[in-house]
């Protein structure tokens, strides 16, 4: 009986050691299976990818004229004079 009780005590002690051991080594699923390598870059645009010729112009929105609402509604494909062609490429 004493051997059995000591065995139970040992199980609790070693099991508790296992608890801390696993706690130190294992990660929650949300951490283990995600990566901070996947992040959305808000500055990224398709334009340089689709139009490599103008890649150096990049898609800096300040270089392009802001379209007015009516231009979007009525699909005005016109390009203001002096504006880069990259501003007219579809995303």
């Amino acid at each position: 009986m004493r051997a059995f009780l000591l065995a139970c005590l040992a199980i609790v002690v070693v099991g508790a050691g296992g608890y801390f051991f696993l706690g130190a080594l294992q990660e929650p699923t949300g951490v283990a299976y995600t990566t901070d390598g996947a992040r959305i870059n808000v500055d990224w645009a398709w334009r340089p990818v689709l139009n490599p010729r103008n890649a150096n112009e990049s898609a800096v929105s300040e270089l392009c004229d802001k379209r007015k609402t009516w231009q979007w509604i009525f699909v005005d494909l016109g390009r203001p004079d002096g504006e880069s062609t990259v501003c007219s490429d579809s995303q």
């Binding site: 009986m1 004493r2 051997a3 059995f4 000591l6 065995a7 139970c8 040992a10 199980i11 070693v14 099991g15 508790a16 050691g17 296992g18 608890y19 051991f21 696993l22 080594l25 294992q26 299976y33 990566t35 390598g37 996947a38 699909v75 005005d76 494909l77 016109g78």
Partner: protein
């Protein structure tokens, strides 16, 4: 002017697009070859045995879109493992029940002598009970993973079954450590007495004395006990290694490796449980005087003469009467 031409070009483009789209849609049914390899999923999957895409995150295994072996693995753990486990565990229980009601308890034929001899010391019993207690917890919590959904869920209900399964899984993980320690200690502690020898062949030829009233000679461990020892050592190692691979997913293993680890873990575990049912039977209600060996550490002298005669001779030669102790109830009245 440029604006007008731009709008004209746009509307013309839209009209042309719709005309072509309608024409292409009308031709679709006849343009697809139904016998093409591409439309047979099975043939498609067999091209590389898996279909893998490209990804930008470091977790390369996430690029695997199709993994056909996963279907076989699912078939295994949802169907085959259930059958293997049910046949092994219930089959062993049925055999033991039939055996008990036909053969009955194996008695000490010459009766109790009243003199006990030390069979297992305190440390051996400590290790045995540590491993055995862990095994029972691991077996119950492990069987819950395979059979709990079918057996316990309808009885307990989703909430209670969920709480129980969560606690059981944690216990399964943490108790694995003392169990592994116990298997290692058992291996080291009893290896010397469990090397097979010629006496074991004779023991097997005579059926271990289970049937009839035969008592084949044996050293400290007979052939049946040696079989249990090696099942514990080899089976325990297999479930421990495969279990730790499952506990640390994809640390040195691929998807296929994880599936293989789960298959080994599941099959060995249910066979292990079946074998231990036999061990528990013979150590309790199956044989008179056997439980005392692990319960108190001693056995009756006549029990030792009948079941481990060669070991008793060794013990007598080694320790003589100092190893023997008379039970108080067996002391003759004065």
């Amino acid at each position: 002017m440029a604006m007008i031409w731009a709008r004209i070009r746009f509307f013309v483009s839209v009209i042309v697009f719709f005309v072509f789209a309608t024409a292409v849609a009308a031709q679709q049914p006849s343009s697809v070859d139904p016998n093409s390899d591409a439309v047979h999923e099975q043939q498609l999957l067999q091209q590389l045995n898996r279909i893998q895409g490209l990804g930008t995150i470091p977790d390369v295994k996430s690029y695997v879109i199709e993994q056909p072996m996963g279907r076989q693995w699912r078939e295994f753990h949802e169907v085959w493992l259930h059958w293997i486990g049910a046949i092994a565990v219930l089959g062993m229980l049925a055999v033991l029940i039939i055996f008990f009601f036909t053969r009955g308890m194996v008695r000490i034929e010459s009766g109790r002598s009243g003199i006990n001899i030390v069979r297992f010391n305190a440390f051996e019993r400590f290790v045995h009970w540590m491993t055995a207690t862990c095994f029972i917890i691991l077996a119950l919590s492990g069987l819950n993973i395979t059979f709990g959904k079918e057996i316990l869920l309808p009885i307990l209900g989703p909430s209670a079954f969920s709480s129980w399964s969560l606690a059981a899984k944690y216990a399964h993980n943490f108790i694995s450590f003392p169990f592994t320690l116990g298997v290692i200690l058992i291996f080291l502690m009893w290896i010397a007495g469990n090397i097979p020898n010629r006496v074991d062949i004779e023991w097997f030829k005579r059926g271990g004395g289970i049937f009839g009233h035969d008592h084949p000679p044996a050293y400290r461990f007979n052939a049946g006990q040696k079989a249990i020892y090696w099942i514990v050592v080899i089976g325990g190692t297999a479930v421990a290694v495969s279990g730790y691979l499952l506990m640390f997913p994809f640390y040195g293993t691929t998807i296929a490796g994880m599936q293989l680890a789960q298959i080994v873990h599941g099959v060995v575990a249910v066979l292990f449980v079946a074998a231990m049912l036999g061990h528990i039977y013979i150590g309790t209600i199956g044989m008179e005087g056997a439980f005392e060996a692990m319960g108190e550490g001693t056995v009756d002298l006549n029990w030792a003469k009948e079941h481990h005669s060669l070991w008793l001779e060794e013990e007598k030669a080694r320790g003589g009467p100092t190893q023997l102790q008379r039970q108080p109830w067996a002391t003759p009245a004065e």
